[in-house]
Subunit: 625 residues, 2 copies
């Protein structure tokens, strides 16, 4: 709106798309801000209803984000949103309003933070609990450079279950850098929040506001020779409440931070006052902000969990477009219930992904053997080792991309001691619109670095069950079952289901090897080529690692072998097989895959049936010349 | 001592080697216990002076361990020593006295905990901060099984800097299992303890003892209508002290644990009272125990840091046998100082290994750009990303085995965004007597799984410097320099030092490839074979990954290539080269390497010069048949 005097504008005349953002934000009055927040909410609901994405967390942080940009000076001050589930408003306010309808689409705005997208996104985010560490790094660099700017970390309460947040706090707390950690507490992280910290934060909520209380306490202490009755009563009635109210000793202060809070996260005036107070500390400070997830959209407020990460939906009713009946995750979860009924040693562990990994069924039937450890993948694995050494059979279900955090624990706490544990690796392979940070393309290279590990990659629901049974009852040590996001659309009932491999038999000169869902596209390519009177043999691996001798024998029978693999190539199964067989040619993934649909990503990599057919065609034709 | 009535025995007649341990421990009186502790200390000093190992931490926990075994009932109760630096007395008391002189020797007693060694070691330990998680797993299994036994985690204060400890506490704190976490606070973790938690623990030390204070406070609160003056004074004079004394609200209680402490860790009577109190809680409890590192051995008490992990030494004087003048670590550290003087962007980061990684020089010259983050390898990498995005050049020096904890952060916080950071990977390869948990044989497989990474493996001091310069000034993204433990004994001055490769030229039909220190044994093998009039060409890789085209070209010129590699084979450089060249044969490591000297380990793997010569001989002779 150029150099307009904002004072003269009625709040309802403020138009999000006419402002020069983020600069104009500081010129608005509170009523104008509220109107802006209303418009932002409408845009969030509209966009996520079309594109899918994270709704509840973003609806909860509209006022907070507006207040942050009014008090701080991005991009000179650096604002790091942990995970990025809460950064949509930030994106809208920092030059990405016009492209916001491309959210999570190929070539569009990312659902997470990306420095390549905007100078207002200082670091890549996507995995939880990194913000305090990276913001402390930024604040430390500012100090070295003599800058007076601030690093701001916006952290959800769920991220507090992750050890790296604590590691960052433990380090930053003793420093004197300009670091503001805003703790956004909505008591609703991805699954229900877990752990003692969550409980602590909920008690903290009922504390009187920081500045007011501190004054009262100081007056009391300084002026009263003997402590007054109200304080004594509080002392007797509630140890914690007293502690928080009177002494203002929060756990954060024990850890060396200044403390400001609690703040109503939907009141911009209160938010601004709190953030300004934090700014004036000129050293690390924690600000606790209490927000309502899904704020402003009825269905999301009522069921924030359902609107956390969501596909597209109908705004009027809140109905999601597609409700999946079953998926690899639910089949895995239900089979685990089946095993758990017969075998009391079976335990299920999730790292804050009870629903995502299909463990809600087990949790319901066997609450005493179900553990949601929070966003704590390191602990999850070591905890499994403890369960296992006493004879339990722990089954840890986790997304491939998040399992990257557990590699040391898998080596150190499971593999060295030969501890028996089962890991269900969900979202293995390309996941689509979440992009680089979430694709599960590194589990094969990382896990095959672990001595003695066994890896299954079933491609059908039936195989998931058989592999899980094999992992629980036949295997020793660490046994991994990896499966993709989504559904099995290809299962043909009646066939014998095995956990090893499936081979077409030797009928041709060319063998094509694959595993997981990609074998389906290889089979479609076979259909295409059969129509051209071209044929090849197929080998589907199910137990993909270690490579079985029988698999070696089959491959050894061919002059030419093509291996299609939905994994990062370096360290892949195909690379390993190539190291033994010079006649193998691999088609795998050679770098990060950007956000797009799985179909689009497959096309980019060359994994669509016609693309696979073309590669095979070249090799068959090549034979003939 | 059979069924002897211990009451009748003079303390000085108690003989460690005559007791039936751990059972007889419970029959001793306190004076007898003190005598036993004296004998244990003598044995510890004697054994470590001969074999090397961890002295200070073990001398500090003699009484604590005796008390634990008197109060708890191992192996029915499970005692988990975090890391295992403090477990020597536990080993002596649980059936390993007779073999204790084999400590850290090939085939002998491990310097860490190993279930394969004793039923009294429930889990493998070696890496820090895992004990709470695994003990909580054990306690949870006990609960499922209806067992009334206890899981006990013995955790040093250093381990509290690691996020996984916090993840475990956050989970355990809300449970009702029989878990006792004994926090052994000596304010001297490997490097000087870092972070706000260390500061917190030191204030906690001066609190009055738990049970006594609680009684006093309750009396005061219940009987006095207005709070008494002493309490008010305490309230005014020290917020924290008051809080801890009167309200007994420790950070551990905020996290849901019961609390017992502080306890004098060298007073068995006090220890027993505290541990019994903890036992009676029947839910998760933290016990803080304050000990003196090196207790009972003058030189170690005075310089606990020097006697933390130590080679053999002379008992009378405390003089270590060998003082290394220089090592790969110190050369790396000193070169970093050199760069830091010219370039103010250079920052150095260590995870509690300032001395181990040679960063003490940088810390001294540039304290404002040096960061010891504690045992927090995850945070270290993400912190680097924050430093880097503002233009700093972070250099994180870390042991190969501990870098296993940072893989997700290297992918997520560095690689995706193309953030420039340098990682010095110390102790790469076989480290010797620390065994399976500490060998650095997985960094190549794990790091090559990271897109865009560059890896150097210098084999001389000169190359370390050149590679570091190249990493800092020529590379983008993540650049890694890996080097072994110990010294470069082979450097020939005057040669041109490069960071790429060294090739003998094409003179023979056989090429032998290697990198790092192993190339030295290849060259010795060449000397052996030259005397037999047998010869081969050599290619030493320095920039080992990604494999350079020129390296491919050289390898492509040979009919036969042997690759000797001090790395786990799966995911290794040799496996990658084999996947491109069928004429390459690899000799690498195929599993965990047990404790032994590096020389012994090399022999086991077949890496001694004569063994390498024999393998080459077979291949040269094979050519002729």
């Amino acid at each position: 709106m150029g150099n307009i005097n904002f004072k003269d504008i009625q709040p309802e005349k403020i138009r999000l798309d006419k402002l020069s953002l983020p600069d104009d934000l500081k010129k608005l009055n509170f009523a104008q801000c509220d109107e802006l927040c209303k418009q932002i909410r409408e845009l969030l609901i509209e966009t996520v209803s079309n594109n899918g994405g994270h709704l509840s967390s973003n609806l909860g942080t509209v006022e907070l984000t507006v207040a942050i940009h009014r008090v701080f000076d991005s991009p000179n001050d650096k604002i790091v949103f942990d995970v990025g589930h809460q950064a949509y408003t930030h994106k809208i306010l920092t030059g990405r309003l016009n492209k916001f309808d491309s959210l999570r689409k190929k070539g569009g705005i990312s659902g997470f933070c990306k420095p390549c997208e905007s100078v207002h996104d200082p670091v890549v985010t996507g995995h939880s609990s990194t913000a305090v560490s990276s913001a402390y790094g930024i604040a430390s660099a500012m100090k070295i450079m003599g800058s007076k700017n601030y690093a701001v970390a916006v952290v959800g309460d769920g991220a507090l279950t992750g050890g790296i947040t604590y590691e960052g706090m433990n380090n930053a707390g003793k420093s004197d850098v300009n670091l503001v950690v805003i703790l956004n507490i909505n008591e609703m992280s991805i699954s229900k929040n877990v752990g003692s910290m969550a409980k602590y934060l909920s008690t903290l909520r009922y504390k009187d506001s920081y500045i007011k209380t501190k004054d009262v306490v100081e007056n009391v202490l300084n002026s009263t020779p003997v402590l007054g009755k109200p304080i004594k009563n509080a002392l007797i009635s509630s140890k914690n409440l007293f502690k928080n109210m009177v002494l203002n000793c929060t756990l954060f202060e024990d850890m060396g931070f200044e403390y400001v809070g609690p703040i109503n996260g939907h009141d911009i005036k209160e938010l601004e006052a709190g953030l300004k107070a934090a700014k004036n500390k000129h050293r690390p400070v924690v600000v606790t902000v209490y927000t309502v997830k899904g704020k402003g959209y009825g269905p999301a407020e009522e069921n924030p969990g359902e609107y956390h990460g969501i596909g597209s939906f109908e705004i009027e009713t809140g109905n999601p477009d597609v409700v999946a009946d079953d998926s690899f995750s639910t089949v895995f979860g239900k089979e685990l219930v089946h095993l758990g009924k017969m075998d009391k040693r079976i335990c299920a562990i999730t790292a804050a992904m009870k629903y995502g990994t299909g463990l809600q069924y087990f949790a319901k039937v066997f609450p005493e053997r179900f553990y949601d450890v929070g966003i704590a993948e390191e602990h999850a694995v070591t905890f499994c080792s403890g369960l296992s050494v006493l004879g339990m059979v722990p089954v840890f279900a986790v997304y491939s991309t998040f399992l990257q955090r557990s590699i040391d624990q898998i080596i150190h706490d499971l593999s060295i001691g030969g501890v028996h544990a089962v890991i269900g690796v969900d979202r293995a392979g390309i996941v689509g619109d979440d992009g680089e940070t979430h694709n599960g393309i590194f589990d094969i290279p990382l896990l095959t670095s672990v001595p003695g590990i066994k890896i299954y990659s079933p491609s059908t629901y039936g195989e998931v069950k058989v592999c899980l049974n094999s992992a629980v009852y036949r295997d020793h040590g660490v046994s991994v079952i990896r499966y993709p996001r989504g559904c099995d659309k290809t299962e043909i009932p009646g066939f014998r289901v095995v956990s090893t491999y499936k081979y077409s038999g030797k009928n041709n000169d060319l063998l094509v090897v694959s595993y997981g869902r990609l074998i389906n596209n290889v089979l479609k390519a076979k259909d295409i080529l059969m129509r051209e009177n071209k044929d090849f043999d197929t080998l589907k691996l199910i137990n993909v690692y270690p490579v079985a001798d029988i698999v070696r024998n089959i491959i050894g029978e061919y002059d030419k072998v093509l291996f299609f693999e939905e994994s990062f190539f370096e360290g892949s199964i195909s690379q390993k097989i190539m190291s033994e067989f010079p006649n193998v040619k691999a088609y795998a993934i050679h770098g990060f895959i950007k956000q797009q649909t799985v179909e689009e990503a497959f096309e980019e990599v060359g994994f669509l049936p016609e693309q696979i057919a073309q590669k095979i065609r070249e090799n068959i034709d090549g034979d003939k010349t």
